[in-house]
Amino acid sequence: MSPRRLDTTALIYLALAGVVAVGGAAVAMDGGNLFSTANLVDMFTRTSLTGFLAIGMTLVILCRSLDLSVGYTAALSSLVAATTMDGDPGRIVLGVAAALLVSGLIGAAGGAVVAFLGVNPFIATLGVGLIIKGYLDTRYKGPAGDVPALFQQFGYTRVAFLPISTIVMLALAAAGIWFLRSTRTGHHMYAVGGDIDIARMSGVRTKRVLMAAHVLCGMAAGTAGLLLAARFGTGSAESYTNLYELDAIAAVVLGGTLLLGGRGGIAGTVAGVLILAVLDTVFNVMQINPFAKDVLRGAIIIAAVAIYARRQLGRTARRPRFDAATTGAGTGRP
């Protein structure tokens, strides 16, 4: 939008280019080709799931909130979709609707606890996640439901090297960018995350905006659950064990969205997701030990954010006193 935001987003895409270049070179030295169709497909496939989750997560983080329940929401959504569809292609629409409805409601529940009960989002959504986990463990003793082949296309079909799921994810990202820029609710997310008191004083219905972010985040997680169902051919409660929420948060932060809210956007998040996907593919192609992968991922996430932080420092140095003033205004009110 403004020159500065462009800079940040540009920087992240530059980082992405760097990761692609370094990864490509490393793979090439290893005698492979990172840009072979197979590897490109792999890379893009890996973006879809984290992408859905991270797009939703971007919204809540922009509002200075957080959602640690998305992994559980996605798992539940996959089950709701698969059991509703029950192998009947005629029930696909119903299944999708049911999954999105349930995940939206979960988002709403988390959002309500955050917005109306004033519970810190970390705890609120961790709690919501635990509640879903208990339900999943009690109700479903493993995979359940049956996804018709037609809907499995969502997980397996691709156009050249772009999987349909990735295209849908990118479309959702574009919609999200448009939403943040062109709708009031979306635009107000920046205000709520920037300073909720100022936003409220300006007449922004902050609770409604927070709720919207959480509901949308829940529905994005629901979409991720649909993808899981399409990929698995069934619903799986076990998927919550994979800590998808942390992947999503890492992607959002890698994408330059401030964990404290108010700055960033979905364009950056997409780059963050891509960075993680490229790393995964590179690690896979190079047959990196799975434990070394964790080490590298952790180190790269920290390093990238440290680099952004450096830039952030440079920025604040140019206007050191205003931040102080706004922080004061934000925290000073009892």
Partner: protein, 495 residues
């Protein structure tokens, strides 16, 4: 009185957790009038204003707008009803552009979507209408200077199409020249038939601008008068309930100007340059200048926040390299910062915890004796609180400022730099602070007083150093006139 006031508040009561803050307050505002709301801090001005703005809801009483009863539970309702409020704290989002800030919560829409073109156009029109032509609608608020942010705030209030604009201490952060711009804005509003409720501690502005004055005291309305019918002295008396003979206390007997405690020679960094400064024990040196002239930057350089990169600093004759607050404190310096909430206090902590913060943080100045003396320091400043365990967030602005001063005095510094110590403080508290500054000098401290209120520098300082554009423009002795200071401050030589 005209039969149909814009606003009629009747019998407004408000209590917080059982503590009454407003008691049966009445307020009438006529169309196109500038109405001053004055009173000491804690008198209930801000609360009344927040009730008007829909931030708080009154416990009892009625509010009528244009003769129609209204009640607000959300700021948006107040805005829709035509009441706009410019709060004391900056209410702009640094990450949003001027245009986005101006329209926050009321973005123009086309087919349900934000119409950014319309937003930019309206912003440009609005700023032009206010006579501001060098403010880009796309600029991020975070990149603007303080007065410009103030302008955006007022423009926002105007853009709401309000027929009543409430301004809470609009000039608190403005230097005198910028106040002129505000005067023009207010007069423009009056010309358009917009009413203004003007909350200020600055008597001069009240008498310059306002048509009528309502005085609050201890949550009750004392009087509403036409401005010509009252003198500044009478007004102050009405507010505090007693007559203040002279606004500025005389130096205390026994105050002696001693050795040079702080000396800066040729100090310079990215913001200021050529700073030569000397403050002696028992001396109050005023540092004057317009907003942006480098007043605060000098204080921050002396205190090592953004240290001098050129020149030398000596404290009590010994050269010091002050590269950070810790070094400054070890050298015996203290800095009461401009923004006490953001820079001075840990608001969730107790009075006592705040008062001992400097001692706790610096082993070099920490001692049991000094800790033991903190209670004395606090009571010496007339701090009104429920005791040392009360959290400072529940104190009034003046009392908060006393806690900040106490925290520095606890460390028994030799030099104290006061940056806008009276900002946002009521007249009574100001007077106590002036006395406190005098007694600091009497105790042999070297005081460097930074303030944007010329009258304070003139009334208190033994010498006045005037900055212009990051450099020292000139130095004036005590008894200088406002004109002389302004001349240096605006880069001219005094005649």
């Amino acid at each position: 009185m005209s039969p149909s006031p814009v606003l009629a508040m009747r019998g407004i009561d408000k209590a917080f957790l059982g503590v009454p803050v407003l008691r049966s307050v009445d307020l009438d505002i006529e169309p196109g009038e500038v109405h001053a709301l004055v009173g000491e801090n804690g008198a209930g001005k801000s609360t009344l204003m927040k009730i008007l703005a829909g931030v708080h809801t009154a416990d009892a009483g009625t509010i009528e707008l244009h003769g129609r009863a209204v009640s607000f539970t959300h700021p948006l309702q107040a805005q829709h009803a035509g009441i706009a409020t410019v709060f004391q704290e900056f209410n702009l989002l640094p990450e949003l552009s001027v245009a986005e800030n101006l329209h926050l919560g009321r973005e123009p829409r086309r087919r349900g979507l934000i119409d950014r073109r319309a937003m930019a156009e309206r912003t440009a029109e609005l700023l032009a209408d206010l006579g501001v032509d060098d403010l880009a609608p796309a600029a991020k608020a975070g990149t603007l200077s303080v007065p410009r942010r103030q302008i955006v705030e007022i423009a926002r209030a105007m853009s709401q199409g309000a027929d009543l604009i409430c301004m809470d201490e609009p000039t608190a952060a403005l230097a005198d020249a910028e106040v002129e711009l505000l005067y023009r804005l207010v007069e423009r509003l009056r010309d358009k038939g917009v009413s203004v409720l003007y909350v200020s501690h600055r008597l001069r502005e009240i008498f310059d601008l306002c048509d009528r004055i309502t005085v609050l005291k201890d949550g009750e309305r004392v009087a509403t008068v036409d401005t010509p019918d009252i003198t500044p002295d009478e007004l102050v008396t009405a507010m505090v309930g007693r007559r203040i003979e002279a606004v500025f206390p005389e130096p205390l007997p026994g105050t002696e100007t001693g050795e040079v405690r702080l000396r800066v020679e040729g100090g310079g960094n990215a913001h200021v340059d050529g700073i030569d400064l000397e403050v002696r024990a028992g001396e109050i040196v005023g540092l004057a200048g317009l907003q942006g002239s480098g007043r605060t930057e000098v204080a921050e350089a002396v205190f090592g926040i953004t240290p001098f990169t050129r020149g030398t600093v000596a404290v009590d004759g010994a050269p010091k390299r002050i590269t950070g607050p810790r070094k400054a404190i070890a050298a015996g310096l203290a800095l009461v910062t401009e923004d006490r909430k953001a820079q001075g206090l840990a608001l969730n902590q107790s009075v006592k915890a705040n008062a001992r913060m400097v001692l706790d943080a610096n082993a070099r100045v920490h001692s049991r004796e000094r800790l033991a003396r903190i209670d004395g320091v606090l009571s010496g400043l007339d701090l009104v609180s429920q005791g040392g365990d009360q959290e400072v967030q529940y104190l009034s602005g003046g009392n908060q400022q006393k806690v900040v001063v106490a925290k520095w005095l606890a460390a028994e510094p030799g030099v104290i730099v006061l940056d806008e110590p009276t900002r946002g403080i009521d007249v009574g508290a100001k007077h106590k602070l002036y006395s406190a500054i005098r007694s600091l000098a009497a105790e042999g401290l070297a005081v460097l007083l930074i303030t944007s209120e010329l009258i304070e520098v003139i009334g208190l300082a033994d010498r006045i150093v005037v900055l212009h554009d990051g450099r020292i423009a000139g130095e004036l002795p005590a008894g200088a006139t406002e004109q002389q200071v302004m001349a240096y401050a605006t880069g001219r030589s005094p005649a």
